[in-house]
């Protein structure tokens, strides 16, 4: 295995920024290859996008494609911090209400038109109507005093506005103003990105080609996350949708595919000595959670939830569910990020304390009621976590029933107050985005533990309204304390994934999407 960028798993709470930095050093010390222009790259991914109208969906399968075609005003860098993409800089007024973005000049759309602030404004207006995330609700008005300036006025100060606007989850991409009046899925696929749309054949592939009129961001020396100076070397990218994991691996081995979005861990280990492929581990990719329904007996009893939290051997669950690609960290934000809370409530993580669990169970007055664990067959991690934790809970005397459904059934059931006591979910993009969507998941009337908690709601409020970073960090600490103390959800551990390329692909660095810019075929 030629691992040019391997972030190894199970290495404890290392700083993600540090690991990425080390990886960059490893890259720097690797043999230097001259970049070559040309060639066609085929990338295989499991799912096809529910839509290729980038802003309307939060699906990973769509992001993989849309972030090659479109660019955002602000986006995320290699360490998930906010970074300008079409914006060169921005100013925030002291009252936190006015955001003034200065846009790059001379940027061309794929149809040859020059991008201006009018396009950016129209795109955000469309996002407010059809975008999959609700961040535009905070906006009061927008203005374009000149072609390179966009001014956004908020109704109230929203300190997390930039974080939400820059999230690649359902990216707020900039499209030509002429397209912005169109409904979801009705637009022409025209962006300013390094690759332009050629064709979409549902159930088969999306094809993109290099946009030779691409105006790279010269404020940077090299690519950085979704931004930086991006260079398209290959002529075309074909993104194939191949649902069967074995067929994806076979395609990579036979040379039909050059890049795999995801390779199962056992396969990555099996191919460790295969010189024809390179395997990259991205860690952390997500974290595995075990969420309780705190409105339905018996999990409406905090003592019982605490008993379960005490009983769980998280490392066993992680080792089994991830086939070894995991690390044990307790934080609800990743180490090295601004909202990481140090050792706060670390003592309640991975307790595997059977005596304590049995004592708490007795105190809870548990009388052998059934604990219904909801999981799905679509994600191996979810299913294996449910089975492993289920077996652990049987050992302390809890009657467990595991209900396995398909993904849409599980996710819809989990939004209801009936039909489940605990639900296994891997959260990936939320912790990557920062604290907001992690806390919002457990806040307000739609809180996923099915009860509204005043402490979490207050923390969410503070997170949303405090202008000082320290106050927002403290608010996140309140959240972390509360979910551990009330045992609303168990953090099981961090999950890594493997991405893979053919041996002749150079420059590839794993990230939240497989990036096809700045890679070339040797």
């Amino acid at each position: 295995m030629t691992t040019t960028f391997a972030l190894l798993g199970r290495r404890g709470p290392a700083l993600s920024a540090l690991t990425l930095g080390l990886a960059a050093l490893a890259l720097a010390s690797a043999p230097v290859h001259a970049q070559k222009r040309g060639g066609d790259i085929v990338m295989a991914q499991q799912a096809q996008p529910p839509s290729i109208d980038g802003m309307t969906t939060t699906a990973q399968a769509a992001r993989n494609i849309s972030l090659h075609i479109w660019e955002m005003i602000v986006t995320r860098d290699e360490n998930a911090n906010v970074i300008g993409d079409l914006a060169t800089k921005w100013d925030i007024s002291p009252d936190g209400l006015t955001y003034t973005f200065t846009l790059r000049e001379g940027v061309k759309f794929h149809n040859g038109k020059t991008m201006t602030s009018a396009d950016a404004k129209a795109s955000l207006e469309r996002y407010a109507k059809v975008g999959a995330s609700p961040f535009m609700k905070a906006v009061d008005s927008m203005a374009t005093p000149d072609a390179k300036t966009l001014v956004i006025k908020l109704k109230n100060p929203v300190p997390g506005f930039l974080e939400q606007m820059s999230s690649p989850r359902a990216p707020a991409v900039v499209i030509p103003a002429e397209e912005a009046g169109k409904e979801a899925n009705k637009i022409e696929i025209i962006g300013t990105g390094p690759f332009q749309f050629v064709e979409y054949r549902p159930d088969s592939h999306v094809r993109l080609k290099r946009f030779d009129g691409y105006v790279a961001n010269t404020n940077f020396q090299k690519p950085d996350g979704f931004s930086g100076k991006k260079t398209a070397y290959v002529d075309t990218i074909t993104i194939r949708f191949v649902p069967e994991g074995g067929a994806r691996t076979a395609g990579l081995q036979s040379g039909d595919f050059h890049v795999l979005e995801h390779m199962p861990t056992p396969t990555a280990k099996r191919l460790a000595n295969d010189k024809s492929v390179k395997v990259f581990e991205a860690m952390p990719w997500a974290y595995q959670t075990f969420i309780f329904n705190a409105s339905l007996p018996p999990t409406n009893n905090a003592k019982l939830r605490q008993a379960i939290m005490a009983a769980i051997d998280a490392e066993e669950a992680m080792a089994i569910s991830t086939d070894g690609s995991y690390r044990m960290t307790h934080g609800w934000q990743h180490p090295g990020t601004p909202y990481f809370q140090g050792d706060l409530r670390k003592e309640l993580y991975n307790q595997k304390n059977t005596d304590k669990a049995k004592k708490l169970l007795q105190e809870s007055g548990y009388k052998g009621e059934e604990l219904l664990i909801l999981t799905d067959s679509a994600f191996k991690n979810h299913n294996d976590t449910a089975v492993t934790i289920g077996e652990q809970l049987k050992k302390i005397g809890i009657k467990v029933n595991i209900k396995v459904t398909d993904w849409p059934t599980a996710t819809t059931t989990s939004t209801k107050k009936e039909g489940w006591n605990a639900w296994t979910l891997m959260m990936g993009i939320e912790p990557y985005e920062g604290p907001y969507n992690v806390v919002s998941f457990f806040a307000g009337p739609g809180a996923r533990m099915q009860v509204q908690d005043p402490v979490i709601d207050a923390a969410f409020d503070k997170l949303n309204n405090s202008l000082k970073l320290e106050d927002r960090q403290a608010a996140f600490g309140e959240f972390q304390k509360r979910v551990y103390d009330e045992a609303y959800v168990v953090k099981v551990g961090d999950v890594g994934i493997y991405q893979a390329t053919r041996g002749n692909i150079q420059g590839y660095r794993p990230y939240r999407i497989p990036r096809m810019w700045d890679i070339w075929i040797e």
């Binding site: 939060t58 649902p243 067929a247 039909d256 459904t405 849409p408 059934t409 819809t412 990936g428």
Partner: protein
Amino acid sequence: MLRFLVHRLFSAVPVLFIVSLVSFLLIWLVPGDVASTIADPGASAEELQRIRMRLNLDKPWHLQMLHWYGNLVQGDLGQSFLLNRGVGQAIVERLPVTLSLTAIALTLSLLLGVLSGVIASVRHGTWLDQSFMTLALLGLSIPDFWLGLVGIYVFAVALGWLPSSGFVPIDQSFVGWARSMALPALTLATTQMGLLARITRSSMLEVLRQDFVRTARAKGLPGFKVVGKHALTNALIPVITVAGVVVGILLGGAVVIEQVFALPGVGRLIIGAVLRRDYPVIQGGLLLLASIYVFVNIAVDLLYAYVDPRVRYDDR
């Protein structure tokens, strides 16, 4: 014959209506909706609701059903939630893949299945008979998804003769099309080949014991004529019946094969629609498959009359 045909065609209407009604009700009984697949696993309830409203999924199910039938009688199968096109168009785009896959698999399984069944019956009790029937049993027993994956590893990874997955349209390259169809069609055909071989063999064995075969042999007809013209023609009736069923099984099997080989066919369209709750596509796709199945069975009934002169529908 014409009266029979018209009668059968009319009787297909209530069958197809019931199929569409049951599938509609089943879809609505299953929890989960398309919003959960458009969104990420961690999407908030508000994000999900925004998507539902955009797709009009917040309206009561009976209104949606009436709307669907209203469109259907005008020949409109509705609009896919996810594919940015009409259901009819989505199906038409994928039909060539599924039809060519099914047609090639049917041809292969009929040719090889009937041939090996005939050889096994003629060489009844010999090692040849045993070998063919063992192979037929193996073909019947091996799950097609497993066979497909083994085929990919042998012919794509190890030998590099065929592509590992994907589809090349015939108008783009005939050779490319043939290469992309070879493994999937052979995999799909294998199970049915076994079934047809066993049916043909048992039917042939019965016919070969009949007096008219003995007479044909006694009057000095060459062996291949006795078998090919007299015995096989008579043994084909049950084979044709099974072939009609086989078409249905192949269409069902195509669903799995299209998944394994990443072929953009109707089966994969329906599976994807079920997993993502794209209701209009599930409805339209199931209606189409049911129609094909019904019409193939009508065709089989007509074939009886062609193969067996004793069957004349107008006499009834």
